[in-house]
Every structure is written in C-alpha cells, then in structure tokens.
C-alpha cells in the first residue's frame, strides 16, 4: 500500500493552557474528499494551519507521502504541494485581482526571482492566471484591486489563489461562507471537479449539510480539538455524538 498523501500523528497544539488540537491522528488518501465538521472553536482552522505550516505543533508529526514535513516552512510546504484557502480572506489587498492570482502561478512555476524582464511578458503565467479567474468567474474584475471587491468575490479570489497553486492537497476552510446563493455553486462545482481527479486530496471544512452530503467521501468530526468520529458520510451523520455536538441535539433525543 502506498503512503497516504497527508497524515498527522498525535498532532497537538496548545495555546497557553488551552489545547486547540489534541493528539489528532488521521490519514488522507489521494482521490478522497474529506469533510471536517465540528462546532466553532473545535480546532478545524488550527488543524489546517498546522498542516500548512503557519503554526508549529507542540507535539506530533505531519507526513506527506510518507516524508516528515513537520519542520518545513510554510513556503516549502506550498512548494511540496500543500495548498490552502483561508477562512478569513487573506489576500494582497492593493494588488489587482489578476496580480493576486499571477503571484500564485508565478510561485508554482518558479519565476518569482526573475529580475530583468517585465512581469507581463511571461505569457503562459498570465494565461494560466486568466484561466483560474475564468473558472472562478472573476475575469470581469481582473483589473480591480482585491480590496475593492465585494465580499463574495474576495472569497472566490481566495479559492482562485488556491487553484493557481496547483497543489496535490487542497484545503478549503468554509469556502462558501458569506457567499450568496448564486455564487456558492460555482465554488462547489470547482471542488467537485478537483474531487474527480484521483491524484488529488481534498480537505473541506463545511457546515451546510446538503453540501456535505453531496461532496463528502468521508467525514471526520473535531470537538474540543479531539477527533471524535471518522467514517463514511451516512454513518457519521447518523452518530448520536455528531448530532449532539454538531446539530445541538442532545444524544438521547437524537436517538429517539
């Protein structure tokens, strides 16, 4: 059996006395879309930050394709194929929408350090960037500064940056939160596309049950930083503990 594309072993982080992620051991396979659910403050975003390297764990290890990446910098992990879209929009506000995406494409293709040629002359980079803008329906606003976009479009740009990184592992953190009903399907279709590529691994934090049902191959549940459930969607959704912590229904009522 090949090594999982990403795996965490006893991954733990403490902030002062508070354990935000508590000994989470979990492995994710290529071609698999895992939805991560759990109440606010469960540690979902923190778990992502540990995997993408913005936070260093207090304990535990992270492996990518069997290699230990626990000590790698965020940029090295991005280069190794770990990509993440942030829950709180995290863009380059004064740069144009196109420049935002171009930066990610450029990083992927290793022309960041190129000096003496105008950035606009790298055709393939610009073309690729445009492709991602088309896919996220942002091509009309390519020239606007990111800060000038309405909230929904900023969320889309967040996703466009992730697509432009062309990672093996996609992490989406509530990608459709705050989007209008006609915007969300664009993003969900894109995620569905990625899911069909059997070489990609997708981790998705999502609350809306219809979305979870439609996309998930597997659901894991975090609560108080602990991994409390892991399995196929129907099974996990039916678990009393999930109904209790996630839907706020007491276990005895849920069972009834």
């Amino acid at each position: 059996m090949t090594a999982p594309s990403i795996e965490t072993r006893d991954l733990t982080i403490r902030f002062g006395g508070h354990t935000a992620v508590d000994a989470v051991s979990c492995a994710f396979q290529p071609g698999e879309l895992t939805v991560i659910v759990g109440p606010n403050g469960a540690g979902k975003t923190t778990y992502f930050s540990l995997i993408s390297g913005q936070l260093a764990p207090s304990e535990g290890r992270i492996l990518k394709g069997g290699d230990d990446i626990t000590r790698l910098s965020p940029s090295a992990r991005a280069k190794a194929g770990i990509g993440r879209a942030f829950q709180l929009t995290n863009l380059f506000p004064k740069l144009s929408v196109l420049e935002n995406v171009r930066l990610a494409v450029q990083a992927k293709h290793g022309i960041g350090p190129r000096l003496f040629r105008p950035a606009s002359s790298f055709r393939t980079v610009a073309d690729k960037a445009y492709q991602h803008l088309k896919a996220t329906r942002l091509d009309d606003v390519a020239g606007l500064p990111a800060a000038a976009l309405p909230h929904g479009d900023q969320r889309k740009l967040e996703v466009a940056l992730l697509l432009a990184m062309e990672p093996d592992i996609f992490m989406f953190d509530e990608p459709t939160a705050g989007m209008s009903v006609d915007e969300a399907p664009v993003i969900l279709e894109l995620i569905d596309e990625i899911r069909k590529d059997t070489s990609k691994t997708v981790l998705l934090v999502e609350h809306k049950m219809d979305v979870v049902r439609a996309l998930a191959d597997r659901i894991i549940v975090l609560n108080n930083g602990e991994l409390v459930a892991d399995g196929p969607p129907e099974e996990v959704i039916a678990m009393p503990i999930v109904r209790e912590i996630y839907l706020g229904i007491p276990a005895d009522e849920a069972a009834a």
Binding site: P74, A78, K79, R84, L91, F116, A119, F122, A147
Partner: protein
Amino acid sequence: MTDTAISSAPPADRGRTGRMIVYAVVFAIGLALAFAPFLFQDVRSSQVAARICVFIVLAASYDLLIGYTGIVSFAHTMFFGLGAYGAAIALKGMGPGWSAVLVGGGAGVIVAIVLAVLIGVLSLRVKAIFFAMVTLAAASVMMVLASQFSQFTGGEDGIVYKAPDLFKPAAKLLTDGDGKVLKLFGVSMNGKIAAYYFVFLCCFVLFLALIRIVRSPLGTVLEAIRENEMRAEAIGYRVVAYRTSVFVIAAVIASLAGTVWAVWLKYTGPETTLSFAIMIDILLMVVIGGMGTMVGAVIGVVLMSLAQFYLKDLMEAASSATANIPLVPNLLDPDRWLLWLGILFILLVYFFPAGIAGTLMKKGSHR
C-alpha cells in the same frame, strides 16, 4: 447596473490623467537633466543637477526597500558611503584613474554586499522595528569607524582627491581647427561636461535597472510581501530570502551611486555621504514623491533639492521686495528658510497623503 458604470468611471479616469501628468513631469525632468549643462550654464546649477541625478538613484533604491517591500532601514547612507569612501580612498591612494574608480567602487560594492547579507540574514526575520534599530546601529558604527580611522578616511575632514583626467576642467573633449576646446551652443566641450555626463549616464542606467526590477515578477513578489507577508509565504515565497535579496540589491545600487557621487565631488566626507541628515533627506524625498512608485523618487528629489538650494534665494528676493511692508520681510527672512521648508512639507503631506506621484496615480490609496 448603469449606475455603477457611471460612478466607477470617474475615479479610474482620474487615475489615468494623474498618471499622464506624473509621467509627463518625470519625462520633462529627465529631459532637463539630460540637457542640464546647456540649459543652465553656471557652476551652481551643474552641482544641483548632478546632485539630483545621484539622489534620484539613492531615493529610488530606498523606495525599493521602504515603498515596495515595506523594509524600514536607516543604513542606506551607510551603503552610499561605502561606495563613496571606496572610490575616494582608492583615488587618493592609487592616484586619479579609472582603475582606481573600478577598484574602489568594486570594493565598496563587495563590502556593501557582505554587510547587507549579514544584516539581512541575522535580522530580517525579526520584527520590522528591530530591523530598523539594527540598521541604525550599523550606520552609527560606520560613522564612528569613518571618524576613528582617520589615516584612511580623513576623519571628520574627509578626503580630497583628483578625479580621472578626463574630468579635469582642462580636458578637451572636442577641439576646433586651432586645437582649442570646441563650443557647442555656447558650452565648452571640456572635462566638466564629461564629468556631468558620466554622472547622468550612470544614474540613468541605475534608475532604469530599478524600474526594470519593480516591473519584473520579482517586483510583484516584493509588493506581495509588503501587502501580506503571511500569504506570500503561504503561496510558496521564501519571504526572508526575498527580503534579504532586495536589501542586498538596494545596498549595491546605493553603493554604486556613492561611487559616482565621489567621482563627481572629488571630495568625500561624513557630511556628503554618511550623515543621518542625508538619511532623513532620502526618507523625506521618497515620502513626498510617493512611496512604492519609483517615479515619485524623481519628483521628491527634484522638489527637495530645488527647495534646499533655491528657497533661500527666493526668500531673499521676496524679503527685499516686501521691505516696505511691516512684519512680512521678517517672516520672509532667508534665515527662516527651514521654517518655510517645514511648512511646505506639511502642506504637501496634507494635500498628497500618498506622496505626489502616489496620490496623483491613485497608487496605494484604494481604501
């Protein structure tokens, strides 16, 4: 929908006309500098023009740091001084000649690279304020060294030396039939002209190189780091490595500008290169011109230099013209020129919060 189209058109339009104005002004300044010896034929003007050329490079390379990358450094004059002292010591020791300029300038660049890498690697990881303090400390140490090692540096008095022969006033670039210096449009084609065009061309090339850098993929990465360091790292850029490289590039360019300045002045001392007064000047020039615009440096340097050189004259004239009116001549007394310079700055910053070029081009003012 037509609503938004109408309301969004004017700002974009204003940005465009603003940009046209800025580029037209910068182009005019470029032309004036290119023909300065013919347009302004007195010694003082040529001194002002040469200083403007050198300081455009110095301020623009500082803009690369502070405006484009968001690095606050107080060591820019230190690098400027390294190039100047390198050339000065070599010209003094080896005698006037191009090999001395090359050796001295080259040594200045090498020391600048070593110091920039050291400062960058050791301290660009830490918070911006600590980095600024480290550069301040380094610059202070360099000033102490320059005054202590007076057998090399001339201490507080600095070093006087000769420039290469080509730049001697007696040098003849073009001669007429009788072997006398040829005059073109009333200007003698002698070593003074050669010296000015040496300064102009070197600075022009360095400035173009800077423009190239900010328009390249690297330039966008630097802006990204300034805008959102964490995200730049998250999409795969090694932020510390980029910061260090840009710090080194700016140091090298400042050092080269120092060498050019030293060759022009034929004198190098703390007051002309290392002093914090110059550091503050550069900072003001970039802020007034517009951070993160490059062309802003051109406008900022020209405004500041003209004010520094000519405000006193202007006030002298104004003061005597108003001699019969009470109080006004006192206010306009040339001794108060710093006060007026200060008022000028405050007004500029008030009306052009993103700097002149920055505000006109609507850069850095979307919010």
